[in-house]
């Protein structure tokens, strides 16, 4: 569309002549242009389908409602949070500092558990020792069975 200025002026004159023409121009080229212009004008209008209009309205309204709904939801959440915070009892964090007596009592409890536990294990060991049957470990087949057997057959295997 970018031609010389002369060409632009010439086309402008012809365009204006064509626009102002109420009947078919004498010039064959302009007459053909004129006929095409009329044909194009006769292509007619297309009606905007009602469904497009309705869809556009629905979408627009939904978009408009969006921020409001989000605002209401946010306000609800905020209200619940505030209510919960206000109704919960005020709890200040407490720092417990044990006294020397507390520590002594705790130590005594641990010692008692330890001592009692050891006594219970020893007693239980003595009681069941006699009833235990030594399992056949197949030690005789080992090359150094003579060295190993005493360890397994010893009542106290702690060392």
């Amino acid at each position: 569309m970018h031609k010389s200025p002369d060409s632009f002026e010439r086309d402008l004159e012809r365009a204006i002549a064509l626009e102002n023409s109420r009947v078919t121009p004498h010039d064959p080229g302009l007459a053909a242009d004129w006929a095409l212009k009329r044909e194009l004008a006769g292509l007619g209008a297309a009606e905007l389908p009602q469904r497009v209009r309705a869809r556009a309205r629905r979408t627009a309204l939904a978009q408009q409602r969006g921020p409001w709904l989000l605002g209401i939801a946010a306000a609800l959440v905020a209200a619940v949070v505030v209510t919960v915070v206000l109704q919960s009892p005020a709890r200040s964090p407490s720092v417990v500092t044990p006294t020397a007596r507390d520590l002594a009592e705790l130590q005594f409890a641990f010692d008692t558990i330890n001592r009692t536990g050891k006594r219970a294990v020893a007693l239980a060991g003595r009681e069941v020792q006699e009833s235990l049957v030594m399992p056949d470990l197949g030690l005789a087949e080992l090359p150094y069975a003579g060295y190993v057997r005493p360890y397994f057959e010893r009542p106290d295997r702690s060392g």
Partner: protein, 175 residues
């Protein structure tokens, strides 16, 4: 005037024009409906800020830009599948051909629309806005950001170009 009322009024006044513009630019009803809907939703969002008298150029610009985006996308992804889909979903018999129309005139209208859809920009938009929709020069100039004389000359040249294409097609068919 309320926002809703102004919106409805503008849709009444220009909705069909926008749909027709999209339909002629894209050559497909389904895409034209999507573009028209998108433009109307944008109108709803912006209706309060639009100055009186500026609505039509704004609406045409929105519609045209949306169409050009689709056309650019088509150019990028042109392929067999799309061609098949286009043939299946091409413009229907439409509301612009009455029941009494002759087959020949319907065929001619189809040819015109197809040739128009193949025109480059801004020639296509100029022909649609000036010759088919018969919008005044000032509105088209404002929409396409051209001077009024440019609108006149470019439309004249676009029409000539379209005529040449139609004549070439016609000659090819005869041959």
């Amino acid at each position: 005037m309320g926002m809703k009322r102004r919106f409805e009024q503008l849709v009444d006044q220009h909705g069909s024009r926008l749909y027709q513009l999209a339909r002629l630019m894209l050559g497909r009803d389904d895409e034209a409906e999507d573009v028209a809907q998108e433009t109307l939703v944008k109108l709803w969002r912006n209706v309060e800020g639009l100055r009186a008298g500026q609505e039509l150029p704004w609406l045409i610009t929105c519609t045209r830009n949306a169409c050009l985006d689709i056309l650019r996308g088509r150019t990028r992804t042109r392929g067999l599948l799309q061609l098949v889909a286009s043939e299946n979903k091409a413009l229907g018999p439409a509301n612009d051909t009455g029941p009494g129309d002759e087959f020949a005139s319907a065929e001619r209208a189809r040819e015109l629309r197809a040739a128009l859809a193949d025109m480059p920009e801004p020639a296509r938009s100029l022909l649609i806005l000036r010759d088919i929709q018969e919008l005044d020069v000032a509105t088209v100039a404002a929409t396409l950001e051209l001077s009024e004389n440019q609108v006149k000359v470019y439309t004249f040249r676009a029409r000539r170009q379209l005529r040449c294409r139609l004549e070439e097609e016609s000659d090819a068919q005869v041959a």
